[in-house]
């Protein structure tokens, strides 16, 4: 990656503060002055005496009332840049050079925020009053000990001259504005009583209650489901228009950028690679990094056989011993491998009311699920958090025992009833199914070397001598495109993508036939995501593996899966081959999901009006024939054609649905 800091040629941004003529001409248009102008900003982190520059000469502007998206991978310095605007840098970081000019109104004098200490009265009165921020993690960014009303009201009392009795009505109004169904009740609730989406709404209410001139949104929807993401984005856009504020949107999701931004700033390794209006960034990208980034994102509009171009491709090598397995596996393609029928699992939760006692509620996490997986295919399962996909997967690897149903395994040695296995037989069988986990950081023990991590499965199953295991571990490393010399290292010295490849190598150590992948790329940066997806795809075809691939990201599943099941509230509502599902979605839930995915394409914007109107996220109700009439067992999967099933009322005529 050549470190070019070349700003967009047709950018109209007055980047230096000497460019007064441009600024003066803008003053004529009331809306068009810059609220923030960042000028050659350098930020350094103190690492035990030596400075590490994490932001190296960034310059850009944020015009009043507009949205500027700051795009970059993790570690590119975008969050710390936001913190420097607010003056909440961590203790080890400081601005070493450059200035941040802030001007609230056109006629105000610009003040350089870097000339004040972070805790000076000037900065404190700006924070929360004129400039606010919302964070990525709605689960941790609110205090668990204080009520929502207290936390929102606090900002109000700090920055506005308001009498104590006026606080509550103002806060309640704000909560109503951000879409709380019962704002009066929410005022005295604690954050843990709210869902993730509502917490993020509360956070937005807190940021906006003082009517700031600039809102910094630091990955505001990354931790949310796609339908909730669409709603929060819609809310931000609506509020921005109502309150006439500028938004600085920090994100790595180009789909979000295309839907929200007026101007885009692309950051890489602390430097700005490219900046300009959203039109020219998407239609006419100049910088290699930006072009590569745009090609690395799986999209719902790309051709079905198109290959993602990852920023850094990896060379890998299949060991000879594995090729033999591959031949055996590929000798019988398209035969049935795994058959799941009528699988169910319920959990009992106690909902405590008051100090003592409580009611028990039964949650049907997986409810009567049936599907088949053929040898050599990739079976994708899509659903939002809480739909039961992880529970399903845990039952498939026999980590949870289902309440009822059957799982049958079929291979050259005959048919096996998986649920009847126990003891030694189960242990032996486990070699056939292995798992790749979501979080590459917590799924590798920080105290084991990579060699030990890769050897452990073989040790557990007593395969080979210690030397053979070590040799095989080296082969596994080459298999996922890592140097065998890395075997002596510990996981912390690897990047997220490399860790995930180690996780894949570990899963392949026992030469399984079926690999179960639980959101394997959702914790990775977009550029690395393409790399890991491509690796998984190649391994599948070269080794003849079968995958069950779980994700909440429709574009990712569309890229990798051959057949896809859509899960909703513990049930499969639609199941079809890939083209069939995306070309002719039938179930309203599938359609809704497809509608709320933001595309990295300016010609394909989200319909925010429609998303905002549709308030039935949680208690979603379908129209006939997709809704249950008696509340339960009157729905079944029917065939639309041989490749497409959908869950409707029993006895519905399939021809009715194809229209």
């Amino acid at each position: 990656m050549p470190p070019v800091v070349d700003n967009h040629s047709n950018s109209k941004m007055p980047l230096s503060n000497t460019d007064m003529a441009a600024v003066a001409s803008m003053r004529e248009h009331k809306q068009c002055h810059d609220i923030i102008r960042i000028d050659d900003l350098h930020i350094a982190i103190d690492l035990k005496g030596t400075d590490l520059e994490v932001v190296r000469g960034a310059s850009f502007r944020i015009p009043a009332g507009k949205t500027v998206a700051l795009v970059g991978e993790s570690g590119s310095g975008k969050s710390i840049l936001a913190q420097s605007i607010l003056g909440i840098l961590p203790r080890v970081a400081r601005v070493t050079q450059g200035s941040i000019w802030f001007r609230e109104e056109v006629d105000d004098d610009a003040i350089d925020l870097t000339s004040f200490a972070d805790n000076s009265a000037e900065r404190i009165s700006l924070r929360g009053g004129k400039i606010s921020i919302i964070f990525q993690e709605p689960m941790t960014s609110l205090s668990p000990l204080h009520t929502i009303g207290n936390q929102i009201g606090e900002a109000l009392e700090l920055h506005r001259d308001i009498s104590r009795k006026d606080v509550e009505p103002t806060v309640v109004d704000m909560l109503r504005l951000v879409g709380f169904p019962k704002p009066e009740a929410a005022f005295s609730m604690y954050s843990m009583e709210l869902s993730g989406g509502l917490r993020q709404r509360a956070m937005i209410a807190m940021a906006l209650v003082c009517n700031p001139a600039l809102l910094i949104a630091d990955e505001p929807t990354t931790a949310l489901d796609v339908s909730m993401q669409a709603k929060i984005l819609g809310l931000l856009k609506e509020l921005q228009e109502k309150l006439h504020m500028a938004v600085m949107l920090i994100t790595h999701d180009l789909g979000v950028v295309a839907n929200m931004a007026d101007e885009v700033v692309v950051m890489y390794h602390g430097q700005i690679m490219e900046a300009g209006p959203v039109e020219s960034i998407f239609r006419n990208p100049q910088h290699d990094y930006l072009k590569a980034l745009l090609n690395a994102v799986p999209d719902l509009d790309m051709a079905y056989d198109a290959k993602l171009e990852s920023l850094r491709d990896i060379e890998h090598e299949i060991p000879k011993s594995m090729l033999r397995d591959a031949d055996i596996r590929q000798s019988a393609p398209n035969t049935q491998l795994l058959s799941v029928s009528n699988l169910s699992k319920s959990f009992v939760t106690k909902k405590s009311k008051g100090w003592f006692g409580g009611d028990k509620t039964i949650v049907r996490a997986v409810n009567d699920i049936s599907f088949d997986v053929k040898r050599g295919e990739c079976f994708g399962i899509v659903g939002e958090s809480g739909c039961g996909k992880t529970t399903l997967l845990k039952m498939l690897v026999r980590a949870l025992t289902p309440d009822s149903g059957n799982i049958t395994w079929q291979d050259q040695d005959g048919e096996i009833d998986m649920l009847s296995l126990d003891g030694e037989k189960l242990k032996e069988f486990r070699q056939k199914i292995q798992m790749v986990f979501q979080d590459p950081f917590s799924s590798l023990s920080p105290r084991s070397t990579v060699l030990n991590i890769l050897k452990e499965p073989m040790e557990v199953h007593g395969i080979g001598s210690s030397r053979e295991q070590a040799e095989y571990a080296a082969e596994l490393m080459r298999l996922v495109g890592l140097q065998p010399t890395f075997l002596g290292r510990y996981p912390h010295s690897f990047s997220g993508g490399q860790r995930q490849r180690i996780g894949i190598a570990r899963a392949l150590a026992l030469r399984p036939d079926l690999l179960v992948c639980d959101e394997p790329v959702s914790a990775l940066d977009v550029s690395v995501q393409a790399q890991v997806l491509n690796l998984l795809k190649q391994l599948q075809s070269e080794l003849g593996l079968t995958y069950i691939f779980i994700s909440h990201n429709l574009a990712v599943v569309r890229y990798i899966a051959d057949r896809i099941a859509v899960m909703f509230k513990g049930q499969i509502v639609e199941m079809a081959t890939r083209e069939e599902l995306f070309e002719n979605p039938c179930h309203p839930y599938t359609r809704a999901l497809l509608e709320v995915v933001p595309h990295a394409d300016l010609d394909h914007p989200l319909d925010f009006d429609r998303i905002n109107r549709d308030m039935t996220v949680e208690g979603r109700e379908w129209e006939a024939p997709f809704a249950s009439v008696i509340g339960g067992d009157d729905l079944e999967m029917i065939d639309l054609n041989e490749n497409h099933q959908v869950r409707v009322l029993r006895g519905t005529n399939p021809d009715q649905l194809i229209s």
Binding site: I88, S125, G128, T140, M206
Partner: protein, 321 residues
């Protein structure tokens, strides 16, 4: 709570009964050592009188039923009811303990907060060093050293909890003043180790909390630094501290015995040790039972306080994972 106390009483009683012999035997041993003759009939009489010839479970039942009714038994050694022997000293013990706890808090909190907010500064290093020094010094040694200096430099005897002339006198201003004066050294001595430990814990807990996202949220909201510290992370780190109160009470009461002996304080600590040495079983048993009850009450209190302080505990109680 009740089952815990019942179990505790059984364990206490069994342990007290574990060493061979009983009070009468050690009493005889003492008499013999003093060169006096012992009348065997008198021995048997004493045994029967005190119920020592009964089987163990009967003695336990007798003891525990009386205990519940407020009759704590009879101290052989002091020839007085246990309630009288302990009663006098209990108030003084509670006084010393509370003074110690408050001193611990008053010193530990500001230092812990300073250390956490100025991590790796010279102040933090210096205070950490002092704290570790306090943690490592044995209490009784400190007591001896302080007594020596008080005697040689200030010329005052700081042994005891009040000047000799006030012992067994009714409460008066001079007596109260004398008690306060004498309280300083014991509280400092008993409190050092606890203070040092508490500084370390406040610092560690607060450091964890300071990094949390909600603290950054508060700062981003424009909450002034000191208020942001007290309202959010400090409040959060109080949890451990409240949970600690339960174990604080008994540990201070029982942990101070040796110091109390060195400083000859009229608290319950030395009493317990002599009682255990001479197998004065009702005195020791009742006393240990007090400690157990205090612990259980302390834990209950801190649980209730936690419920009030932390909505997560209040609202999620009993949820199955």
């Amino acid at each position: 709570m009740i089952p815990t106390l019942v179990l505790a009483s059984i364990v206490i009683f069994t342990i007290i009964q574990l060493p061979p012999g009983d009070y009468v035997e050690s009493y005889i041993g003492e008499l013999l050592a003093a060169g006096e003759s012992v009348d065997l009939e008198r021995v048997e009489y004493l045994r029967a009188e005190y119920g020592l010839d009964q089987p163990m479970w009967k003695r336990y039942l007798l003891w525990i039923t009386n205990f519940v009714q407020g009759d704590f038994g009879y101290s052989f050694e002091n020839q007085r009811p246990v309630s009288e022997v302990v009663g006098n000293r209990l108030w003084l013990t509670i006084l010393v303990s509370f003074a110690t706890i408050i001193l611990t808090w008053v010193i530990a909190f500001p230092i812990g907060i300073y250390s956490a907010t100025h991590q790796y500064s010279w102040g933090d290093y210096g205070l950490t060093f002092l704290g570790l020094l306090g943690l490592a010094t044995p209490n009784f040694l400190l007591a001896l050293v302080m007594m020596y200096f008080a005697q040689t430099i200030f010329g005052v005897s700081i042994g005891g909890l009040m000047d000799k002339e006030f012992i067994d006198q009714p409460m008066s201003w001079p007596k109260f003043w004398s008690v306060l004066e004498h309280l300083i050294v014991p509280t400092v001595v008993i409190g050092t180790a606890g203070t040092a430990a508490m500084i370390r814990r406040i610092r560690a807990n607060l450091l964890d909390e300071l990094e949390k996202q909600y603290v950054i949220t508060a700062r981003a909201k424009g909450v002034p630094p000191f208020k942001a510290l007290v309202k959010y992370p400090l409040r959060m780190s109080l949890n451990f501290f409240v949970a600690d109160i339960g174990s604080l009470l008994p540990s201070i009461i029982s942990g101070a015995e040796i110091v109390s002996i060195v400083l000859s304080l009229q608290t319950t600590g030395p009493l317990l040790i002599t009682a255990l040495k001479s197998q004065d079983m009702y005195l020791a048993g009742s006393f240990l039972m007090f400690l157990a009850t205090l612990t259980v009450i302390g834990v209950l209190l801190s649980d209730i306080a936690l419920g009030f302080l932390d909505p997560r505990i209040r609202l999620q109680g009993g949820a199955d994972k």
